[in-house]
């Protein structure tokens, strides 16, 4: 009986589903960004000092979208 009672309702809210969908794009984007940086450094190791700060700047821009989804999941009632 208790298992049935625990499994009866869909708990939580749609905010978390929204965040899950919002995390797909930045996940793919970060993979492309960091993968391309690794590939470029592999082709030309002396460009490491140039490419790494650019990767971090790009990382900031891409990650903000996923974090906006995370924050809005809490803020919007």
């Amino acid at each position: 009986m208790e298992i049935l009672a625990a499994a009866e309702a869909f708990s939580g809210n749609a905010n978390v589903i929204g965040y899950g969908l919002a995390a797909i794009g930045p996940g793919v984007g970060l993979g492309i960004l960091i993968g391309k940086t690794i590939e470029s450094i592999g082709r030309q190791p002396e460009a490491d000092a140039t490419l790494r700060p650019l990767m971090f700047i790009g990382l900031g821009f891409v990650e903000i979208l996923a974090l906006l989804g995370f924050v809005l999941a809490f803020v919007v009632k």
């Binding site: 208790e2 298992i3 009672a5 625990a6 000092a49 140039t50 700060p53 971090f56 700047i57 990382l59 900031g60 821009f61 990650e63 903000i64 974090l67 906006l68 995370f70 924050v71 809490f74």
Partner: protein, 265 residues
């Protein structure tokens, strides 16, 4: 011998929510209707910035040519900001901004580290007021730098009406440029830092409380040990995130100021 599902359904694990970020005020202070009470967050922030300030003051006292002791540590920090953040982005003409960028980097880094320091375990930068104010300062800095170098009207014209764009595209482009440069930049700086710190703090809290919950009950001790190992890995990850977010905030500040100093288009 009841299955674990029934056990969990009966006793329940209380996941932390928004109340994990609120601390009761210890000393109530109100100035002209503004609530500036001192609670645990403010106290730890004051202690941390006193310590970091002390480190820098001790490092700058005897300026030896070959640094030792505190001066060595401080010089390492200043040279990191100078060579990795300022010079690649702004070039030598931006060296006037070095004091602010060093202060910004070490302020954010030390406050972020409070999340993993045992006993404190709460980053003041997860409250929107602190990153919000830093973002406002950065906003004022890059708008003021642009207006000083290109004049008030010149800077707004360069931002809102990029040269070389036909007039029919301007109708679409100007609101987008306005929002993207003058609204999204400071907002995203603040939200990036706050959301990273909130997510990290919630993750660590869930893992620590979950480890205690799992270790408490005989049936799940194995999972409790796994959770403890994962918590340790997450503490290391949070130290990395603390440094990374300080670096990103500082380097984006430098990028925005550099973009105002020389017209991009």
């Amino acid at each position: 011998m009841t299955p674990p599902t029934l056990l969990a359904a009966r006793e329940g694990f209380e996941a932390p929510g928004a109340e994990a970020f609120y601390w009761q005020p210890w000393i109530e202070l109100h100035v002209a209707g503004v609530d500036i009470s001192i609670n645990r967050t403010i106290l730890t922030m004051i202690i941390m910035i006193t310590l970091v300030g002390l480190l820098f003051v001790l490092g700058a006292r005897k300026g030896r040519l070959v640094p030792t002791g505190a001066q060595n540590v401080v010089e390492y920090g200043v040279e990191f900001v100078r060579n990795q953040i300022l010079l690649p982005v702004m070039g030598p003409k931006g060296l006037g901004y070095l004091p602010y960028l060093v202060t910004l980097f070490f302020f954010i880094f030390s406050l972020n580290l409070l999340e993993v320091i045992p006993g404190v375990n709460f980053p003041p930068t997860s409250r929107i007021a602190i990153p919000g104010f830093l973002a406002i300062i950065t906003y004022i800095l890059f708008v003021q730098a642009g207006m000083k170098h290109q004049g008030v009207g010149g800077y707004l014209k360069e931002v809102l009406f990029p040269p070389g764009v036909p007039w029919y595209m301007m109708i679409l482009l100007t609101p987008i440029e306005f929002v993207s440069t003058l609204v999204v930049r400071p907002a995203s700086l603040a939200i990036r830092l706050v959301a990273n710190m909130i997510a990290g703090h919630l993750m660590l809290t869930v893992f620590f409380l979950g480890t205690a919950y799992l270790l408490d009950r005989d049936l799940t001790i194995g999972f409790g040990i796994l959770a403890m190992l994962m918590s340790s890995a997450l503490v290391g990850f949070e130290i990395f995130v603390a440094g990374l977010q300080a670096f990103i905030f500082t380097i984006l500040t430098a990028v925005y100021i550099a973009g105002s100093l020389e017209p991009a288009h």
